[in-house]
Symmetry: C2
Subunit: 115 residues, 2 copies
Amino acid sequence: MTEICKVYDEHLDKILEAKKKLPDEETILEVSDFFDALGNPTRLKILFALLEDELCTCDLSNITGLSVSAISHQLRILKDRKIVTYRKDGKNVFYSLDDEHIREILKIALKHMEE
Amino acid sequence: MTEICKVYDEHLDKILEAKKKLPDEETILEVSDFFDALGNPTRLKILFALLEDELCTCDLSNITGLSVSAISHQLRILKDRKIVTYRKDGKNVFYSLDDEHIREILKIALKHMEE
DNA sequence: TGTACATTTGAACAATTGTGCAAATGTTCT
DNA sequence: AGAACATTTGCACAATTGTTCAAATGTACA
């Protein structure tokens, strides 16, 4: 921090309170990674497609119109961040949403946009 | 798309269904912008701090330990994306969360991390 | 009007990100 | 083993992002 800014006495309580209740750095970074994973059009298309049913890498490439490689790269990010899971079946790898929170958050976000 | 990938007959229905239900490009981009705004540690700190109470730019700089300028840049993004609102009071500008969806989503995300 | 201070803005720069390409790996079937 | 095809991976490169610094703008008050 380079600039200095006077602390108002009457703000002091609120500042201390906010500092105290702020989640710790590690949690902030985790939540940030989570939202960051959702904050990309390709990854969102993947997730919205998976709302219906599990799909393989190739299906997702078809649905999104992006290269299989691009989809695979993005799936890795979603997998690493525990947003999707997968099961292998022969040559195919089927991806699906990891849990109910994802579904819930996607729904709220869509609703948020409509207003 | 350069790579071509054979469409399985038995996947065809699921692909068409998913394509049909996918939100349109514009909506996808809006939702993506929304999550993208939440996917950054500095902006998250701002939002978590605002869960308690409205705060001015200077307060937020204190709480996060970042320069006033950095905070102001990030506040502009949150403001543009309708995630925070503000009211002016003399020399100060007080920011607060724009609506209940934000609060709800932040809470679910925190819960999601704990599991 | 001038001073003090809160906030915003624009330029610049390093760091990160998303994609395609080419090659590697995995799996099934003959 | 070899062919066929789904998937993953590493590299490269353009595009985007977050921060700082310096300057501009806004507001209150003497």
